[in-house]
């Protein structure tokens, strides 16, 4: 039989591996995507090769920041002192690793889209290189929001003490808190990247309307992030609600499935909202005088596509508070 300290130590090593292992997938995909498009852009306009390569590297660095967050969490986990830890810490650390590991995926893939489109845009319209890089930086910085949320949940799970809480239902709540934010960040990260990419393409096509295109991109990205904000809310409730001690397995499974429900339920709406925002940004770049109407239709469409995330949130709250 393992003693508690060995168990917590094992869980921290497992969690560090999961965190950076899962977290590395997305960044590599996003960066490769960017490099592919940079090659295309250079072949179209070889004399601008230097500018394009520079913007590719800047964009890749932004896309990689989600993986760097995962690396920071993994290193913190590896060197954590668990010599006098409570048994609940074992579950909290697994939750922290899962949250950051899954949470880094979407933002890193999403960050690749604006970087790729900015490279293509420079080859298409070299005179607006500065505007394109600025827009790409704003877009990919906003893309990192889901990864930042996942990192916050990881750090809270790692550094808050759970000594006064009952072991039985709380262990499930801590893992569920990680899954809720981590999984729901996948959709929101990818969905946030789509309008950012399209806005870089739009600015290259229609540089005079850069202001309106960036505004529409920001609104679209913000709404695409709503599912992962619901995931964050469910995680906060799971962490800070103090459940009553019980011997039954039912409340624990209810809490665990609340996290899985919100996490999985947030993936689809995040990507769906990204499609809506991408379309709106694309057509605002082509017909800027209709930007008011297009933005409104985008929001209405996103609200409908988001209703499934709201169903998932309602079911999670019922699982947490009623069962």
């Amino acid at each position: 039989m393992l003693d508690i300290q060995t168990l917590v130590g094992l869980s921290k090593d497992l969690s560090a591996g999961l965190c950076i292992g899962l977290g590395a997938i997305g960044a590599a995909l996003g960066e490769g995507y960017t490099a592919g498009f940079a090659n295309k852009a250079i072949s179209q306009r070889p004399e601008k090769g230097g500018d394009i390569a520079k913007s590719m590297l800047v964009g890749q660095a932004m896309a990689e920041s989600a993986a760097i967050f995962a690396l920071v969490i993994a290193v913190l986990l590896l060197f954590m002192d668990v010599s006098s830890a409570h048994p609940l810490k074992a579950f909290a650390l697994i939750g922290a690793g899962l949250s950051m590991g899954f949470g880094a995926f979407g933002s890193a893939v999403g960050g690749g889209y604006p970087a790729a489109e900015a490279c293509l845009g420079i080859s298409r319209q070299p005179t607006v290189t500065g505007e394109l890089i600025t827009n790409m930086l704003i877009g990919s910085a906003v893309c990192q929001t889901p990864a930042i949320f996942a990192m916050v949940i990881s750090l809270i799970l790692m550094f808050i003490g759970f000594e006064n809480e009952p072991l039985n239902p709380t262990w499930a709540a801590l893992i569920a808190a990680g899954l809720s934010t981590g999984l729901s960040s996948i959709g929101s990260g990818i969905g946030g990247g789509m309008p950012a990419g399209e806005s870089c393409a739009g600015i290259a096509r229609n540089p005079e309307s850069a202001g309106q295109i960036t505004t529409a991109m920001l609104v679209g990205q913000a709404v695409a992030q709503t599912p992962c904000i619901f995931g964050l809310l469910v995680s906060f409730i799971l962490i800070f609600k103090e459940p009553s001690a019980t011997n039954s397995i039912v409340p624990a499974i209810a809490l665990l499935s609340a996290g899985i429900c919100m996490g999985l339920g947030g993936i689809g709406p995040g990507i769906g909202n990204g499609y809506a925002a991408q379309g709106a940004v694309k057509w605002i770049a082509r017909r800027v005088e209709a930007s008011g109407t297009l933005t409104r239709i985008m929001l209405v469409g996103q609200a409908v596509s988001q209703s499934t995330a709201i169903y998932a949130m309602v079911v999670s709250l019922v699982l947490i508070f009623v069962l």
């Binding site: 910085a141 916050v152 750090l155 550094f159 505004t215």
Partner: protein
Amino acid sequence: MENFTEILQLKINLAGIILSFNVKTIIMTWIVMVALILFALLARKKMGLVPNPFQIVAELLITAIYNLCIDTLEDERLGKKYFPLICALFMFLLLSNWLGVIPKLCEPTRDLNTPLGMGILGFVIAQYAGIKEKGLKQYIKDYLDPIFFMAPLNIIGEIAKVVSISFRLFGNIMGGAIIIIVVSYLVYGILLPPLLNLFFGLFVGTVQAFVFTMLTLVYIAVQVK
């Protein structure tokens, strides 16, 4: 590092009802308000055709937000009506998010109560604008769209907007603050923290203040149409 979720609270017992005040948030909010009033006074001082530096900044800001209001609401009268609110909201949030860059001060928006209050304010104003512009009958009818039994979902969707708008701002500012604290602890405060403050405090703070303001404006625009 373990106590970054701790909040300084003042609890007052008023005939059995316990009122709690987050002292630090209130002080920081007052600092922001005083700074905004000072800015307004400086911009108004000796107003003229040859403007002073504060007047230039104020004029640029006001023109940009005024055009944004009219473009988004697609109506000159409505744009004029809601412009003071939108402009004040943006300036307050912008300065609030920037405040954390100064040592010993912290952003009022790091406390969930501030963004939540602003979110509820925007929600109530959007509903008021909807009733005022469309009439009560059309306003209620829009909630029964497309069929009457969709009404509960429409109402939940509307309330979810308040949750998402306020948690987006709170999560970004709080997340940035936590990341700055953790990284400063790891590198003993060398080299990285100023860059992180620049990114999370100034850059993300500006973007999120703009997103919050823009979403409030767009929610009003969706209600009045």
